[in-house]
């Protein structure tokens, strides 16, 4: 037992109690610089690790990363990039932002749950259910005016996602069922439900394409308008604004509403919440409903924005719910962090996709590289110790950063216990 361990133990048992063990503790409640430092450091370490693997398998990590970067379209922001390269970059950036749209929302779906002390691993299932409903609404009701049709589809998808997540919430509140397991199970049930709907002979399969396991197409009136790039080449649709708006809603919800307050209390200290008269079970259910709604809306934006139909293969291979987990963790469960992390992953996904013809490395390889980087990020976040504490000096910095400058002088555990 080193000196450091003793101190950590003492610190842990004395001042953090129940809060330290709750997943809500993964939130950046330390404001200011340290709130941003950790995610940046985490990302850098993960990319370095990824680079080492690339190096170990005989490729050049620098050229790999730079070609990925060019594929993200972020280079469009550099004023010195011009001409044909600029046009390509624009197209790439549109793709990145399209990915980011859904990632923001699925990330928020996980983040809100984390804040309330729950693990919503069910983003994938909630997204799937939302997608099914969105594609059904979008491909039916052909005569509806566009705004109404789109709104209807989005709201319906949100409700579907909410209901799906709500099942896990209700089970947790009524029977104490662990939401990790129940949401994972619901993921798979949703996937099979989707496959059932759109497989050959399934009830929602496209009647005009009887040999393809796909849904009907979203009608023109329900498609989200594209504002950058051309609709024919999958330009950027207005969904991104909806996602950003919902991120603002998330921030307001957390900080300024009673529900947010109750959720955070339950997340950090369910006992204290009970003592304050908060109905913990009902809070769980409300939180899960909102999380599911976010995920459902994410699906609807994808469907109405660029997918326009749903293949059973899509349903079975989609990983977006899991990316959402990484996004939320990296973004430390805050609105701003989630948006930033979503942007990062959006770029990564676009930069490593088949679209990027300039990739200096086999695209399949980098797609799996992305998984590895994602995994490393999640692992680093899971410890929450590695970046702040293992550096012995970092321990003091980490604690000190949690206080405002004028407090540091007068603070300290004076008096002892």
């Amino acid at each position: 037992m080193s000196q450091l361990e003793d101190e950590l133990n003492a610190e842990a048992t004395e001042s953090e109690g129940a809060a330290a063990r709750s997943p809500a503790a993964l939130t950046a409640f330390r404001r200011g610089l340290s709130g941003v430092t950790v995610p940046i450091l985490t990302t850098v370490i993960a990319f370095i690790a990824g680079g080492l693997i690339v190096l170990a398998t005989g490729h050049n990590p620098l050229s790999t990363y730079s070609s990925i970067f060019n594929g993200t379209g972020f280079n469009w922001l550099f004023p010195w990039v011009g001409g044909a390269a600029r046009a390509t970059a624009a197209g790439n950036l549109q793709q990145t932002l399209i990915q980011t749209t859904a990632l923001i929302l699925v990330g928020l779906a996980v983040a809100f749950a984390f804040r309330a002390g729950m693990f919503n691993i069910g983003g994938q299932g909630q997204y799937t259910v939302g997608a099914i409903v969105a594609v059904w609404v979008g491909s039916s009701f052909a005569g509806m005016p566009a705004v109404l049709h789109i709104a209807f589809a989005i709201v319906a998808a949100g409700l579907a996602g909410a209901a799906w997540a709500g099942i896990a919430g209700v089970l947790k509140a009524l029977t104490g069922a662990n939401e990790v397991i129940s949401t994972i199970m619901l993921n798979w049930i949703a996937i099979w439900l989707g496959v059932y709907c759109f497989q050959l002979g399934g009830p929602l399969q496209n009647p005009s394409m009887p040999s393809t396991p796909v849904s009907s197409n979203v009608v023109a009136g329900a498609k989200l308008p594209v504002f950058w790039g051309s609709a024919a080449l999958q330009g950027l649709d207005v969904g991104i604004f909806i996602a950003l708006a919902l991120a603002v809603v998330f921030a307001l919800l957390i900080k300024r509403t009673r529900l947010g307050y109750e959720a955070r209390t339950v997340g950090f200290n369910p006992e204290a919440a009970r003592y304050a008269g908060i109905n913990v079970g009902r809070t769980w259910i409300r939180v899960m409903l909102i999380c599911g709604a976010f995920a459902g809306v994410a699906a609807s934006l994808d469907i109405l924005g660029w997918k326009f139909s749903l293949f059973t293969n899509d349903i079975q291979t989609s990983q977006i719910g899991f990316y959402g987990i990484a996004v939320a963790l990296l973004g430390r469960n805050t609105a701003g962090g989630t948006v930033a992390a979503a942007l990062l992953f959006g770029g990564l996904l676009t930069g490593t996709s088949d679209r990027n013809i300039n990739l200096s490395i086999d695209p399949t390889l980098v797609q799996y590289l992305t998984f590895m980087i994602e995994g490393i990020i999640v692992l680093l976040v899971s410890t929450d110790v590695i970046t702040l504490r293992l550096l012995k000096g970092g321990q003091r910095i980490g604690v000190a950063l949690g206080r405002r400058p004028r407090d540091v002088a007068g603070a300290g555990r004076g008096g002892g216990s």
Partner: protein
């Protein structure tokens, strides 16, 4: 006195720090075979830390440990056990779902080829049990066994490993009077056997019954070591506290009015469905402080839970100013005017990652003052917080500081502030000064008296002898879920002690 054989155990100049807190400051301690040496001190004096160092759970910053005169390094409990040290912990280290025999042999199990030889284990347990008078059922699961029996299992664990140095950490804290007598018999038998026994306690009376020598610790330092002959409760108390007892603030006499808290014939069960409050009745009037004294585990927690609405009683009534709130939940209790300073401020009182403003709003955030239509009135919360922090002289941060950054004493001030600020009718304070330093304790006591003078009814549940004596207007003793005695604050420790352990004494009814 020159000793021909070295002591079985000697601790020399042991120092242990946690950050800036010095838990043990150059402490010397030794025990010889066949002796009971008591380690006496208040909560937080450093007794448990010293024993954790001995048992290998902590590494001392300075000092050395000698067994039979030879210096040793104790790196882990395994080393301690190998050196013949056996520890009977205050909070039992037993696996609830396993049987008595399994718990006793864990780590040194008898085996027959590959199998765990439970028959041999049982036999050995019975053997030890008979020899020392420690009756247990080897096949019973720990979770189904009484607290007294669990302690016997803990002792058997040490004996099974041939511990020659036995450390008993607050062994009587959870025992009934009968069980204490049985324990003392066992200790004597172990003494005759030549074992060296360390008896840790904060109870003066027991220590005088059992010990041959007594060492007193105070705030991490050793104050003195005295032989039993010639020591009295008063002389020991002086050593423990360091000044003549009674640290109370001047307390004007109270002027009690109507009963604001009226508990009648309450029956409450705990999480394991055992009845912990059995037909309890008590009343606390406006403008008085009533202390509830008793050994931990006699139903205090369940009673507090019932009054604050956390637990629904099986039967009985809890009336706040005439309004029955029994079983109606926390919100009903809060709205009726019950405030609760919780026993464990970190678990139940505060949300450490919240700011002070957010913490201070926890009780009343639903009221129109703090929120409307689902939105929080943040500015208002902030203002209120700043006012309270100034009024209660909370140091360590402003309204935007995180609760985690404050010291224990200041955290408790915040918890107290929150409860008192809501102008409750009844204030339930459950161990409000646990773990606090003298200055913070004084503050809390003064506040409680101030609240009493404002006309509140204050129920103080405490295990601190001084608190129970200094603060209240009346003392009620709880034992096995019932009120078994009512005493004036002038009652002696013996009277209280007897009542707390179930004995009968002349009841001094306080004229109402």
């Amino acid at each position: 006195m020159a000793q021909s054989t070295p002591p079985a155990l000697a601790l020399k100049e042991i120092t242990k720090k946690f950050g800036s807190v010095v838990a043990n400051d150059r402490v010397d301690f030794d025990v010889v075979p066949g002796e009971v040496h008591a380690l006496l001190g208040e909560n937080g004096a450093g007794k448990s830390t010293l024993m954790s160092v001995l048992y290998g759970l902590y590494k001392p910053d300075a000092g050395e440990i000698l067994i039979d005169g030879k210096t040793v390094e104790i790196e882990s409990p395994a080393s301690a056990i190998a050196l013949g040290i056996g520890m009977v912990h205050q909070h039992f280290m037993l696996v609830p779902v396993m049987t008595v025999a399994e718990n006793i042999v864990l780590g040194q199990e008898p085996t027959r080829r590959w199998r765990l030889d439970l028959k041999a284990a049982r036999a050995r347990v019975r053997e030890l049990s008979d020899r020392y008078g420690l009756a247990v059922d080897p096949d019973a699961r720990i979770e189904n066994v009484t607290v007294g029996a669990q302690q016997r299992v803990e002792i058997l664990k040490a004996l099974y490993r041939d511990a020659r140095i036995l450390v008993l950490d607050e062994p009587t804290a959870v025992l009934t009077a009968q069980e204490v007598r049985e324990l003392i018999t066992v200790i004597n038998r172990l003494k005759e056997d030549g074992r060296a026994i360390v008896f840790i306690s904060h109870k003066l009376g027991e220590v005088l019954q059992v010990a041959d020598r007594i060492t007193v610790l105070r705030r991490g330092k050793k104050v003195d070591t005295v032989p039993r002959a010639g020591a009295t409760e008063l002389s020991l108390a002086r050593l423990v506290v360091g000044r003549d007892v009674m640290l109370s603030a001047e307390k004007p006499a109270g002027r009690p009015g109507e009963a604001l808290l009226d508990v009648r014939d309450l029956h409450v069960r705990d999480d394991r469905d055992l009845e912990k409050v059995s037909g309890l009745s008590l009343a606390v009037r406006a403008g008085e402080i009533v202390a509830l004294a008793g050994v931990d585990g006699n139903g205090q927690q369940e009673l507090v839970d019932a009054i604050t609405g956390m637990r629904a009683p099986r039967s009985g009534a809890v009336a706040i100013d005439g309004q029955d709130i029994a079983g109606k939940g926390v919100r009903a209790a809060t709205e009726a005017g019950v405030a609760h300073i919780a026993e464990d401020r970190q678990l139940r009182g505060l949300v450490l990652p919240f700011t002070l403003a957010e913490n201070l709003a926890l009780r009343e955030y639903r009221s129109p003052e703090f929120s409307g239509h689902g939105w929080l009135r943040l500015g208002h919360m902030q203002q209120r917080a700043e006012k309270l922090l100034a009024e209660f002289d909370v140091r360590g941060g402003g309204a935007e500081a995180y609760a985690a950054a404050l010291s224990g004493g200041n955290q408790q001030k915040v918890a107290v502030a929150r409860e008192i600020a809501s102008n409750p009718k009844v204030l339930v304070a459950h161990q409000p000064t646990r773990g606090l330093d003298v200055g913070a304790i004084e503050f809390v006591h003064r506040r409680l008296i101030a609240e009493r003078d404002k006309g509140r009814a204050v129920l103080l549940v405490s295990l601190e002898y001084e608190e129970v004596k200094a603060l209240p207007d009346r003392i009620l003793v709880i034992y096995e879920g019932e009120i078994v005695g009512e005493f004036p604050p002038e009652a002696s420790e013996e009277q209280l002690g007897v009542a707390m352990t179930g004995g009968k004494t002349e009841r001094t009814e306080v004229a109402l």
